[in-house]
C-alpha cells in the first residue's frame, strides 16, 4: 500500500509540474486535475513494484528529500564550477596526466553509491568507470592524477574534493 501511495504522489507531482499554467484553479484547469489524478492512479497501479523495489522507505522522509536541492544548489554547484574551470584550463593548455585509480567509499546503500558516482562523474576531473559490487569501491578515471597517488593502492573518497566535503553530505542524505 505504501509503495502505491508514494508512486501515485510522485507521478501526480510530475504531471502537475508539466501542466502548470493551463489556467483556471490557481495554475491548473479542472479537467487537467481530473486527468492527472486518473493517469497517476493508472501509473501507480502498473509501476508500484518498480519504484520501491527495496522495501526501504528511508527516502520517504521529507527532510532527506528537501536536503537534495540544498545539496545540488550549494556545495555541488561550487564543485561543478571549479571542475569545469579546471577542465577548461586543461583543454586549452593540453597538460594532462590521466590514470585509473581505486577509491574507497564507506557507503552501503544503492542510492548513496549512485549519488556518489554521479557526483564524481560531474565534478572534480574524474569519471566513474566501474564499481566493485562487493566492497562498494569505485574505479575512477582521473584526468590529472596528483603526484604520488599512482603508487597508493586506494585513496579515500573525500580526498578527491577540495572545496566541500561531498561524501559527508551524501552520507547525511542517503544513509
Amino acid at each position: 500500500m505504501i509503495p502505491f501511495v508514494l508512486t501515485f504522489l510522485l507521478a501526480l507531482f510530475i504531471y502537475l509540474l508539466l501542466t502548470a499554467g493551463s489556467g483556471g484553479l490557481g495554475f491548473w484547469s479542472p479537467s487537467e486535475l481530473v486527468a492527472g489524478v486518473a493517469l497517476s492512479l493508472l501509473t501507480a497501479a502498473v509501476a508500484r513494484n518498480l519504484l520501491c523495489r527495496s522495501r526501504d522507505l528511508r527516502m520517504a522522509n521529507p527532510i532527506r528529500l528537501l536536503l537534495i536541492p540544498v545539496y545540488i544548489l550549494g556545495p555541488f554547484l561550487l564543485e561543478v564550477t571549479k571542475a569545469n574551470l579546471d577542465v577548461a584550463y586543461r583543454v586549452i593548455t593540453g597538460k594532462i596526466r590521466p590514470g585509473i585509480i581505486r577509491v574507497q567509499s564507506g557507503l552501503k546503500t544503492d542510492l548513496g553509491i549512485f549519488m556518489l558516482a554521479n557526483s564524481i562523474t560531474l565534478t572534480p576531473g574524474t569519471i566513474t568507470v566501474d564499481i566493485d559490487e562487493k566492497s562498494h569501491d569505485l574505479y575512477i578515471h582521473n584526468i590529472n592524477v596528483p603526484r604520488g597517488w599512482e603508487s597508493r593502492p586506494q585513496v579515500q573518497d573525500k580526498e578527491l574534493f577540495s572545496m566541500a566535503n561531498l561524501p559527508a553530505w551524501i552520507r547525511r542524505i542517503a544513509e
Binding site: S22, A83, V91, P98, I100, T121
Partner: protein, 118 residues
C-alpha cells in the same frame, strides 16, 4: 534590463563552455579524456543555456503576467534536470563498456582496474 543582461551572460557562458567541450572532444588523445571534455563541459554549458531561458521566462512572467511563460520556465527546468542526470549515467555506461571492450587508456600513469578480477 537586469534580466536582459543576466540572460545574455548565461547564454554566453553556456556557449563558451559548449565550444570548449567540442574543442576537447577533437583534441584529446583517447576516449576517456574525450569523455571528460564532453560530459562535464557540454552538460554544464547546456544547463547554462537552459538557465538563460528560465531567467527569460521568469522575467517575462513578472512583466506581462502571461501564464505561458511560467510553463516555459518549468518545462525548461525539467529538461535541464533530465539532461544532467542522463548525461552523467550515460557517460559512466560508455566508460564501463569501453573498458570491458578492451580499450586501454593510452597515456596513463596507472590503471588499477586492469589488475582487478571480479
Amino acid at each position: 534590463m537586469i534580466a536582459d543582461i543576466l540572460v545574455l551572460a548565461c547564454l554566453s557562458v553556456g556557449l563558451f563552455f559548449n565550444t570548449l567541450g567540442i574543442v576537447g572532444l577533437l583534441r584529446f588523445p583517447d576516449v576517456y579524456t574525450r569523455m571528460h571534455a564532453t560530459t562535464k563541459m557540454t552538460t554544464f554549458g547546456s544547463v547554462f543555456t537552459a538557465l538563460s531561458v528560465i531567467i527569460y521566462g521568469a522575467a517575462q512572467f513578472l512583466g506581462t503576467g502571461d501564464g505561458q511563460y511560467i510553463t516555459l520556465s518549468l518545462h525548461t527546468l525539467i529538461a535541464a534536470i533530465a539532461l544532467a542526470f542522463t548525461n552523467a549515467v550515460g557517460s559512466h555506461a560508455i566508460a564501463r563498456g569501453a573498458h570491458k571492450a578492451g580499450i586501454k587508456p593510452v597515456p596513463a600513469v596507472v590503471d588499477r582496474l586492469e589488475e582487478y578480477t571480479p
